[in-house]
Amino acid sequence: MAQIFHPSINTLAKASIFGAIFIVGFAGWFIWEFSRSPYVTQVNVPREQPVQFSHEHHVAGLGIDCRYCHTTVEKSGFAGMPATKTCMTCHSQIWTNAELLEPVRASWRTGEPIRWTRVHDVADFVHFPHDIHVNRGVSCVSCHGQVNEMPLMWKTESLQMEWCLDCHRNPAPHLREKWSKDPATGEQRFDRDVAFNMNWHPSVDQTERGQVLMKKYNINTYQLTNCSICHY
């Protein structure tokens, strides 16, 4: 009986077995990269909003504090979105005829709220409380990036679980000191605003300082990686 396969098939078979490793490897790499790509995570993709609100202008330009609009960020899980009334406190006085602000005025006139597109959206089975984070000295910047440099809002972090866990396993680099020694008097001084300081830069010994803060605050990384801290 004649051979069904030509001897050269052996080489082909070996090559394809060898090649399959690469194909599987490539597929793995692709899935790995794709699921972290901006296409999926929307990192660095500015979002269209009903009002083209510029954080850059309001925060960096005018020096308005985060908490002027996001009022409940220190006391609730939800940071709070400014009501139309908040916008109108200023914009009933300045830029009263600006085309850009027409949706705000319309909302004020009609009582119809403005529908902002959510930029930072965690899955519904994840509970992210703002209050504990900012109260622990984790700045807005750690998750939202340098918002003061964003003319339109975009994500700077993926908000994927591995990213959350990076910090929950080692929060030290992100902790800012709320209690500090006044260099002049030597007294302990409480700085509530440190988490909202957009121009804060870590000192060279941030890692050590962070470790000290973790001890002080009783931050337990074993606990921070418990599932029920975020999922319930």
């Binding site: 609730s76 139309t84 902002w116 089975f125 509970h127």
Partner: protein, 1073 residues
């Protein structure tokens, strides 16, 4: 590994001995049928884990393509979400944090003070109001479930004229014209029918209307009213009074067919008071104090060595009877002769010819020994004579002014409601009623059958009804106008002791509904007045002198109007108060009329039928029968054998000239030859939830026998089978020693001092460690320092099985309703179930004893090691976590759970489509999908929220001066005290205690839960498996009268009991097949 509960376990070994396998849950278990054996060893009953529905090729393809499509969704689709802020933000509202408003839940005309939780403008949960005398912070199952009624998608949305949609404007035009015409005749022919009314403003409005229309009449009818108590008071004192019992002072209690722990407007309060007299504590010393001198302990249970003793004479099984130390089961019409015999014995006459003579003698001696500290409660639905006798007994026992307090009546019309309804029916038949306004209630469904209310009603020219639902009465009504839910409108109401609450709404009406106040204001000639203005104006005249705004705000904030309780009255017993019975005083009646006795009772969940569209209540396993979804006719095992009945048979019940078909349920503890028929089922004009559920027992309920009567005909309908969804045989534990019951005397001998310093966690090395199949936790010991360690202790001694916790858990944790067919398959989703256990012979067993069973949060959890995807894991705080988004539904965990407390979403049970039902969900808890396992989390959302608050407080003060630190400690203590699981918060008896078992208050004390775990009667369930459960139980204790011997139930007919015990209850084994 330092596990705080090791001590608990060690302690428990030395403490009360195991009582072994003497308890049983169902008659099948008692006789160890093969069906029972199979049910025991299966994770779910047969059929639960299989796909039993027909799978057509088409359906299969549909499912497959759907799952493929869904599989691809993640990663590609990015549904856009929006944040929609306010235009003008409301004051005090912090998005993400709930607000609580004080109001009152109306039930049968009386109010139960509640705090309604509101998230961003939508009410989501009901909690008790600690300042309200009827609640004291707790609630009942109905109040918990009322939140679901608010969002019922089947509420009527608009007024309807003969079923056609109309506007309110049109209705008001018609009404105005009619009223103008009536004005000419002084309102002749105008009638108003209400349910029980205690609302001061509604009363004054109706009275104003009666002044405007002097010829008009006001009638009352409530299907489960307290006519007996009313008439009994008149008989005894010559005037109606409101009776308030002080169970917190009572040491000896005799219940004459009363179920004060479940029925009536004060039941929640009575639960608390009663439990306070039943709790036994060593106060952390392990030794019971010789005298009960409460030791001053700020954060702890006082040491108590005494228990009250309860005697219960009952007909239909009651939860009061299950709590009693001595229980006599008798026919309903034997209660009155029994009460007379008790009175005779108290008065020193001979009762030797009474069948229970020795019982009565021993009991009366005990009651008299505690003069002034004993009390007699007459049943809610017993005859006036029993109430009069109870009043006489309380007088003779010196209880009046001590354990029994009389006040002015709280209800407006203290005359009998049945008479009121009868006169209305007479007048309707006589043609003198021209226009009838039905304010609330469903009389066509619930009026006594012999009155033929519907026929009379249809003779009225203009019939108007305002009610929450479009019901049987609405169907025969010209104009039906929707009434607002109590969370949607302003009103006021009084509690059992007369305390008034101004009810405030939490939300605008979801539909075009109005309150009764608004309708009446229109009739009085004040159109367009809002309910708020009506209530405010009414209270302006009632408020004490001074600043009205301050009074108003304070009343709203507290949820009670201070000092508004009904004034105490002093009454004297009429000379002829206890008229001798016609004849044959002391012998059981009933021989005269042949046939069985029928006893009517409202269903514990759907009540008189008013909650017929509430899925939570339908699916609540009833406290005693553990049945869901249907009402039944309850037979005793002996009677069932006599009639050759088995569970789920169908019988035809014939009474008072009418017949109805009812499913059979056989229950130990039911008197022989009596059949208890539960009201509330069989609604016909009702929403999708209540349709086809149960049978209408009102059809055989005549006005002559509102609560019991003789002459019931029972005919078995051969070959008929009606499936019932009973949860009793579900989730059985392989029996060893789950339940421990002891007497107080036994307990006194066992109690001993606890081990030295038992609450400090000690390292495992050097100590005896129980070998466990399950590994130690991975994290090193030092990580546990400074963490909370959560635990729970459940005091079975005060658990009355009322099931408020079950619904509270359902509301808090977004637990879905699955429906009757799914319950039959064992797929109910309740995270917390209340197991009931009996002991003794089938005919007259002890019990049932209640054991709330929920996730035990084992420190060495069998479920965790078998999960292939680590969806269930252990937190550092000792909580057995369930991560829904990881779960792939293998169900290995629930297979391996010895407590059978895990629940699986076999289908998409959670309603994620109906718009209004989305609003009822707690936003802090994930709504689970199909294919996901779930279970009790110790209310992790509440724990996390409190932990965060504490961490923020402590963190801010970390470098602060010492005095600030001290303040923070006190604040943290308060936060820890306020942290309660939903079941704990709802529990009227404080049987469930949750907390941090290693926490120390600023004053060095431990939390109550820790103290309870050092009590000698604390034990864990199935600890022989070395699972180290964090939830432990305190053994049930009984305080029997030494003169009466054991705890045994005594049936009316002693001969029949012996007869029953002689053989095994084989009669209904076949029912399971």
């Amino acid at each position: 590994m330092s596990c705080p509960s090791k001590h608990v376990e060690a302690k428990e070994d030395a403490a009360l001995p195991a009582t072994g396998r003497e308890f049983w849950r169902s008659l099948d278990e008692l006789s160890q049928t093969p069906q029972f054996q199979e049910a025991l060893h299966r994770e779910y009953p047969r059929g639960a884990s299989e796909w039993m529905d027909d799978v057509s090729r088409r359906n299969f393809l549909k499912l497959m393509s759907a799952s493929l499509a869904l599989a691809g969704v993640y990663g590609c689709a990015r549904p856009e979400e929006y944040i929609v802020p306010y235009v003008v933000p409301p004051e005090d509202q912090i998005p993400g944090k709930p607000l609580f408003y004080a109001t009152a839940f109306p039930m049968g005309g009386y109010g139960l003070g509640v705090l309604a939780e509101q998230h961003m403008g939508r009410p989501t949960k009901i909690e008790g109001n600690p300042d309200h005398p009827a609640s004291l912070g707790a609630t009942d199952a109905h109040a918990q479930a009322s939140i679901l009624s608010l969002y019922d998608p089947e509420h009527p949305e608009t007024p309807k004229e003969a079923g056609e949609i109309r506007t309110w404007t049109r209705f008001f035009e018609v009404l105005r014209k009619e009223l103008d015409a009536k004005q000419q005749t002084g309102g002749a022919g105008l009638r108003i029918l209400t349910e029980t009314v205690t609302s001061p403003t509604l009363i004054s409005q109706i009275q104003a209307l009666l002044k405007q229309f002097p010829e008009a009449r006001w009638h009352h009818y409530e299907p489960a009213c307290f006519d007996g108590a009313r008439a009994g008071a008149v008989q005894a004192f010559g005037r109606p009074v409101n009776t308030i019992y002080r169970f917190d002072l009572a040491e000896r209690i005799l219940s004459l067919d009363s179920d004060f722990l479940l029925l009536g407007p004060a039941s929640v309060r009575y639960n608390r008071d009663y439990a306070n007299q039943r709790r036994v504590r060593t106060g952390g010393t392990g030794i019971l104090p010789v005298v009960s001198s409460p030791q001053e302990q700020k954060h702890g249970q006082d040491a108590r060595a005494t228990m009250s003793r309860t005697y219960a004479a009952q007909s239909a099984p009651t939860i009061t009877g299950t709590m009693a130390d001595h229980r006599l089961t008798m026919a309903a019409d034997e209660v009155e002769p029994f009460a007379r015999a008790v009175l005779a014995q108290v008065n020193g006459q001979s009762v030797l010819d009474h069948p229970h003579a020795s019982f009565i003698q021993a009991m009366v001696a005990d009651l008299l020994e505690h003069k002034g500290r004993s009390l007699v409660v007459a049943g809610e639905y017993t005859s006036p004579a029993v109430h009069a006798i109870a009043h006489a007994l309380n007088g003779a026992l010196g209880a009046v002014g001590e354990t029994v307090v009389y006040t002015e009546p709280v209800e407006v019309h203290p005359d009998a409601q049945l008479d009121s309804l009868k006169s209305l029916v007479n007048d309707m038949n006589g043609g003198s009623v021209d226009m009838l306004l039905v304010l609330g209630g469903n009389p066509i469904f619930a009026a006594p059958a012999d009155l033929k209310f519907r026929e009379a009603y249809e003779k009225v020219r203009l019939r108007i009804q305002q009610s929450l639902y479009y019901d049987e009465t609405s169907f025969h009504t010209h104009w039906h106008v929707p009434e607002s839910h109590y969370l949607e409108t302003w009103s006021d109401i009084r509690a059992f002791d007369g305390t008034m609450t101004i009810m405030q709404p939490l939300i605008q009406p979801l539909h075009q509904s109005r309150s009764q106040h608004e309708l009446l204001a229109f009739m009085l000639g004040f159109p367009d007045v809002s309910a708020r203005e009506i209530i405010r104006e009414a209270w302006r005249s009632r408020a004490p002198q001074g600043d009205f705004e301050a009074f108003w705000m304070r009343a709203l904030e507290k949820g009670v109007v201070e000092g508004s309780a009904a004034p105490v009255v002093s009454v004297t017993l009429q000379p002829n108060a206890v008229a001798p019975a016609a004849q044959n005083d002391l012998s059981p009646a009933g021989a005269a009329v042949s046939g069985y006795e029928v006893i009517f009772r409202p269903d514990p969940a759907v009540w008189d039928g008013r909650f017929a569209n509430n899925g939570w209540l339908h699916e609540l396993p009833r406290p005693l029968t553990k049945l869901t979804w249907d009402n039944v006719a309850i037979f005793s095992p002996g009677t069932a054998r006599e009639l050759e009945l088995e569970n789920e048979n169908v019988v035809e019940l014939a009474y008072a000239g009418a017949t109805v078909e009812a499913p059979v349920w056989i229950m130990p503890g039911q008197p022989e030859k009596s059949v208890t028929v539960l009201l509330g089922g069989g609604r016909t004009v009702v929403g999708a939830v209540g349709k086809g559920v149960g049978f209408n027992a009102y059809l055989i309920r005549p006005s002559s026998a509102m609560w019991h009567g003789r002459g019931l005909g029972v005919k078995k309908l051969e070959g008929r089978h009606y499936p019932l969804a009973c949860t009793q045989p579900h989730q059985m534990l392989e029996g060893r020693d789950h339940l421990r019951v002891h007497t107080l005397e036994e307990f006194k001998h066992i109690a001993g001092p606890p081990e030295e310093d038992p609450l400090v966690p000690e390292p495992a090395h050097g100590k005896t460690v129980h070998l466990s199949f399950y590994p130690d936790r991975p994290e090193p010991d030092e990580w546990l320092i400074g963490t909370h360690q959560w635990g729970m202790a459940i005091d079975q001694n005060v658990c009355t099985g009322c099931s408020a916790c079950v619904i509270a858990c359902q509301a808090e944790n977004n637990i879905p309703v699955v429906g009757k067919d799914q319950v039959i398959k064992g797929r109910e989703m309740h995270w917390l179930r209340i197991d009931t256990y009996y002991r003794g012979e089938a005919g007259a067993p002890e019990g049932p004893y209640f054991q709330p069973m929920l996730c035990q949060h084992c420190e060495k959890a069998p479920c965790e090691v078998v999960c292939p995807v680590e969806a269930t894991s252990h937190s550092i705080e000792g909580i057995n976590e369930m991560t829904y988004n990881r779960c792939i539904g293998t169900r290995y965990c629930s297979n391996n759970c010895p407590y059978k407390v895990r629940r699986f979403n076999f289908l998409q049970y959670a309603d994620i489509k109906t718009p209004t039902l989305q609003l009822v969900h707690n936003p802090d808890v994930t709504v689970r999908q199909r294919g996901v396992m779930e279970k009790c989390t110790y209310c992790i959302q509440r724990i996390n929220s409190t932990r965060r608050e504490i961490k923020i407080l402590r963190g801010d003060a970390v470098d602060a001066p010492a005095e600030v630190q001290d303040d923070v400690k006190l604040l943290v203590d308060r936060l820890m005290d306020r942290l309660q699981t939903a079941c704990q918060q709802a529990c009227p008896t404080e049987a469930i205690v949750f907390g941090d078992i290693v926490y120390e208050y600023a004053n060095g004390h431990n939390m109550t839960v820790t103290q309870l775990k050092t009590e000698p009667h604390n034990y864990g369930v199935l600890t022989e498996l070395n699972t180290n459960p964090r939830t432990t139980y305190l053994a049930r204790l009984a305080n029997p009268n030494p003169a009466l011997g054991g705890l045994n139930d005594t049936s009316a007919d002693d001969a029949s009991v012996e007869d029953t015990s002689a053989e095994k209850p084989t009669a209904h084994d076949a029912a399971r097949e």
